[in-house]
Symmetry: none
Subunit: 148 residues, 2 copies
Amino acid sequence: MAGFKGQAEYSVDSKGRVAIPAKMRNDLNPAAKNTFTITRGFEQCIFLYPMDRWGEMEDEFRELNMFNQGARAFVRTILRWADEVSLDGQGRISIPKRLVEFAGLDGKALIIGSLDHIEIWDPDVFDDYLNEQSSDYESLAESVMGVL
Amino acid sequence: MAGFKGQAEYSVDSKGRVAIPAKMRNDLNPAAKNTFTITRGFEQCIFLYPMDRWGEMEDEFRELNMFNQGARAFVRTILRWADEVSLDGQGRISIPKRLVEFAGLDGKALIIGSLDHIEIWDPDVFDDYLNEQSSDYESLAESVMGVL
DNA sequence: GGAGTGGTGGGGAAAAGTGGGGAACTACCC
DNA sequence: GGGTAGTTCCCCACTTTTCCCCACCACTCC
């Protein structure tokens, strides 16, 4: 299955609905049944995992030792923000209010494909994130990939 | 079976009744027969285990060595707080008074899905819990999942 | 230029949450 | 032993939210 890639800027309507780019919809595994688990991402963005991939994530969480405080706190956070959303007839999902607020979405959304998941950012928030990056793309690449 | 996820803030009425979110009810295994074992959770919250999953938990407790003092104390605690509750026609359960007091519930309840169980928190108590967290979500994720 | 695909916006039906009332059961007191 | 008060459980009705469907506009590809 091809991973998600590319980016697009779409509008978020008053009901919190956002269209998922057709290109990414086409990359969906039929097993995902046009359904995603939407949850809080890292940094100030939203993660969207297709149902099939989310099942694998849950299996990883189940393997954690729930008698460990840190593990409980982590699982509580990722799960309490999570919700299941499906594409409507127009290829849109509706984002729960609390996630709209968390990501600071305000009329516009930046959709970014990221292999096994899709990220949703507020365009302004994403600009700030880019500006905060201390190292440039080339140095980052070296530190992440250079040790392989 | 998909695990429980998501959160919702519902009211606790004067009779100690709380609705279980429809999304979580739909994730219930029919074998659970709309029945839960409700008991004291970790941190100041209430745990709700569907009947089918609770059976497995009991099996785990049975395997503990009851000649060990700690094991006895642990099992005593979790069992003495436990009670069996069923959904009424409106999808609600009624929480035993002593658990309402333990969790500090006061008119409102925060329901959090957590894979194999559901947690019930008082919203204020949960805020305090969040504030006590020493590390942010990103660092927590790295320390919990980063070693995989 | 027309048809089809892709994104946007709104309205109505159905489901979900909330609160209250009444019957059945129990426990306590007279 | 009977009556009363308290509790629990079940059912009904109301209100709000959510979801699904329909219509429209823009762009692109024949």
